[in-house]
Symmetry: C2
Subunit: 696 residues, 2 copies
Amino acid sequence: MVRGLSVRKAMVGWVLAVMAITARADEGMWLLNQPPTEQWKQKYGFIPADGWLEHVQKSCVKFGRGGSASIVSPDGLVMTNHHVGFGQLRKLSTPDRNLLEAGFYAPTHAEELKCHDLALQVLWSIEDVTSRVTEAASKGMDAAAAHAARRKVISRIETECEKSTGLKGEVVTFYHGARYHLYRYKRYTDIRLVMAPEGGIAHFGGDTDNFEYPRFCLDVSFFRIYENDKPLAAEHYLRWSTSGTSDGDLTFIVGHPARTERLFTVDHLKFLHEVKFPTILRRLWRREVQLLGFAARSAEQARMANSELPRVQNSRKAYTGIIAGMHDPRLMRTKEAAERHLREAVEANPQYKADWSDAWDRVAAAQKTHREIYERASALEGRRSVIRSDLFDIARDLVRLTDELPKPNGNRLQEYQDAALDSLYLSLYSPAPIYDALEIDRLESGLAYLIETFGADDPLVRRAVGGQGPRRRAETIVRGTKLKSIEVRRALAESGAAAVRESSDPMIRFAAAIDTESRAMRKRLEDEVESVEREAYARIAAAQFAINGANTYPDATFSLRIAFGPIVGYREGDVAIPPFTKLSGVYERMALRGAAPPFDLPLRWIEKKDGLDLNTPFNFVSTADIIGGNSGSPVINRMGEVVGIVFDGNLQGLIWDIAYTDQQARAVSVDARAIIEALRKVYDATPLADELVGRQ
Amino acid sequence: MVRGLSVRKAMVGWVLAVMAITARADEGMWLLNQPPTEQWKQKYGFIPADGWLEHVQKSCVKFGRGGSASIVSPDGLVMTNHHVGFGQLRKLSTPDRNLLEAGFYAPTHAEELKCHDLALQVLWSIEDVTSRVTEAASKGMDAAAAHAARRKVISRIETECEKSTGLKGEVVTFYHGARYHLYRYKRYTDIRLVMAPEGGIAHFGGDTDNFEYPRFCLDVSFFRIYENDKPLAAEHYLRWSTSGTSDGDLTFIVGHPARTERLFTVDHLKFLHEVKFPTILRRLWRREVQLLGFAARSAEQARMANSELPRVQNSRKAYTGIIAGMHDPRLMRTKEAAERHLREAVEANPQYKADWSDAWDRVAAAQKTHREIYERASALEGRRSVIRSDLFDIARDLVRLTDELPKPNGNRLQEYQDAALDSLYLSLYSPAPIYDALEIDRLESGLAYLIETFGADDPLVRRAVGGQGPRRRAETIVRGTKLKSIEVRRALAESGAAAVRESSDPMIRFAAAIDTESRAMRKRLEDEVESVEREAYARIAAAQFAINGANTYPDATFSLRIAFGPIVGYREGDVAIPPFTKLSGVYERMALRGAAPPFDLPLRWIEKKDGLDLNTPFNFVSTADIIGGNSGSPVINRMGEVVGIVFDGNLQGLIWDIAYTDQQARAVSVDARAIIEALRKVYDATPLADELVGRQ
């Protein structure tokens, strides 16, 4: 019940926060080569020492496809969240060894478990390539052609980078296309699991406590980077703070916020509020109920469902929080006022007017198209697509890869361009287990969704269900496909488009049957929505620069950022929420909830309780500006030492996607002291604790 | 995983089943004054004795607004399902006495608990009033006017009935308006709770096992009818079978199936498949996830949520089953063939053609309109409306009641016509507890739904949210309303429309703010869809009669019906499912599922296990044709003795809504022997068991 109430109260902070993207308070996900030094100095008297930023940058890690992490020992030890390492823990589990439930610890290097398909990247250097990218598109081009031209040069820059430096190149877009930076990464693919606690303590309180505070979670896991079959001798790593932190201390969070939408126009926000978020929520509600039913049928199915359910519940709660924030009419009114203000300033200057005046209307037109195609395009393509199964993903990749590879690199779909192929092959040939029952359930669910949404007579739906009911169709395909064999995948990938076209594998045939329309929808989306938005937002961002000054940070783009803010509590109604919780709190909460799941502590935590210092700080909150993707980011102090690891935001922080406020919104972290206490006294992992604090 | 597979396999039976509504196999929900005597005689050699049907009819009970029951002792003892009595058990619960969890037994009459707002009805006599009703509408009238004219005369017939006989009159529509029967009911409002087992055994296996078989549920509860503060001296009641039943025995199920849709045209079925059912499911998925979150916050909230969650989960599973059946393209193809067949027969006869030929197109036109208005109309009105809160229902009833009462009876909305007022006042002045936290959650959910679905700028949505976020709006209204006081409700109801219009009560104001559009949508639905369908289906039904003979049963309309069929198992793939389960099975299933909820037996069942005859038959399946609303119906043998009580259908039976098949579809009942065994040996309820078997 606290949720909606608090979201509402958080609104008060908006009026100040969303007037412009220029930074106030502790707002901002700053580029490491463009830090808010003036603000740090004035508000906190903090002046980073020479090399402080570079050292931090080179100690931070981009974890897989969507998480953050950091190197925390000279031997390449990497710390991230349990929920970031989750996919790997699942893939390394077997029916006899459920790492998600039981946890894992390798006391020696030899016992560390090699991950099947994980790549970590460390940002090594940055180059501004804005002029090269923007000059690729000439004035007369339409948005789609300009985008294609830019994509082409970007792909060339990335390939050159790899050839000339051996580093993986990625051109990152900032300020919605106003700036392009070439990020050069050191890339590691031999990654081994060192330690993970039980899911029961990592996610104590489960979906109920997710996005809540106070919290009691040991949401951490450790991996190790190997090079040439030896632990990485790390040039840079973050040292562990031995002094800890207190209420009011300034902290920094360095990681990879995935995406914010703070520049979005009112029309765009209305699209999110009225079309996109409700559609996503509908899919999540549906899938959550289906998965709960699937899981309830047996312990084995519950284990399978666990590979999908937490992600679904996490997303559902996140979207619930943000949509609850948007439901308050005052948010949109505030955004409307800010937009009016900016547009008036543009109109008042003839040059500004000529360059930027129509950008908002262009976004509005794109939203109109997006409203029309969103349901169909998003059902077939992208992160929220409804046909989700590991085998389908493999089949689609095979169909597309063999189709795309013969094309010039710059003309391919982005995920099949040279720069992306390593990651693609890693996942395509991953030996991670695939569960038939869950695959059938997922595919049935997706097919039924298509019927429910587009009707049984829709031509695409007819092709998809092939004259059968979704259940029977899913069974036929999943039981008939040979794609569980990595050799079969490899043979198909290597034999090319003709072989794939002629393959009688039912999953390949299924993927091919819906691919034409699926690609067509994606093309419409890219050409008529995303390209238009990109072009328009680049101009709106340029207007922001011109009118509000250059002291701004770009919207998040899953690139490395530094955020800052003190450890500080907040109030909910009459209740003061202190910034720190203690280890004792987890036992109290378990007792209060009768130890019923998800409030049942792992046995080890019950047995070892007496040996623990229950006053050890466990979790804490700060005002640093984070968002999804930041999970696993180290929390560091002024000396650059690890004082914690961020793993969540509170419910009031969900609106940070759109607007920053520090009224009640907070980042939630695990305290470094709790990690050491648990390693030493619960997990008997003294060598690991010693490695962290530097006593080796 | 068994679910979808079995639904698919059940399809094979359809081809025969859905060609026409004429009865085959054990199909049919027959009127008690029009039983399938020829079929009974030929297939089962069963010829009911004189008075058999009248005795059964007068022993059966319509329970509240949506369930079935029977009188099972000379002292007015009534048996129904636990899940039918659920609402009453909830209302009789207090924070200190949770009847749903702990169960209840009153060893003496004095200890029986009086229900707040329950009415039971026994069908006493039937009169065919078809000509009076149909003559009310003259040829020239359009569908809406004809409907209004018929409603008017129906209301007059019902009022007359009450005046002349003292019995409650209800004109029941059969064959979609081809026949109207006046049902005269004895009505009882002093009903007391006698016995209910714990929810844990009544719904053992919870939502996981719901609609599944084999099953192990004691889904039964007992009430008693009082007249003049004394137990009813029942003229008719069903005797308890002491001999029990075996595999293959013919049984009858007599109760109130609520609604079937077996005559529906293909266009209409497509509307259900593509619009109505997916919309309902979307609302149910959403609400289920919301309620699970609400319940997870505390034990107290879990108890509150229990008043809504089981209903939501039950509906969700039912719609999941039926939509899964409809997803198989073969169902629609079979229906298409049957429709073509019938239409060709109509076209072939000039008189038929003149009378009935356009009926299918009229239904199609109504579906077109319904597709356009369904989302909005159903969000605001009817069983699936999204603004669901006890306080809102009260407020809306007050707004409408005071508005409608001054009108002539026949012109009022149906629920405010004289014949409905007793029930209305019973619920309007019910002292049943209302939980603020749940009311706020429900109202917030409904308001958010309106925004998500119609957009924040929609005029109705603006009126509904009143410039606030849904959460704050819901809090303001629920905390501010005085409608928890029965006196306040009564004062408003009695002071009339002007007083209600001027009331500043926030819930009244809220209900009034959305009422104009809500009523307008309802009117469109009634005039442009329901009236058109009614008129067209009456003609399609007439065509059915003419072409397929009069030996048909009408679609269910929550009126008393008799269904029949033997106790017989079925196969799922290679597995033979025997018809009976035993008491031992519940202990085995608990052990298999590690006694985790919902597979945790109540303590009493653990403690008393050793004293039980574990070979006692517990649940059984039969082919009798039932549907929702039949819950609580007695299962009787050829002698009219109780051998069980039906409480569910299996998943494959969900499609019975649209088409009967006996391939795998089954009705699921509690065996009478298990009831006696449990009463005597688990609940120490010897007096109640004795009352049932007749040893008093």
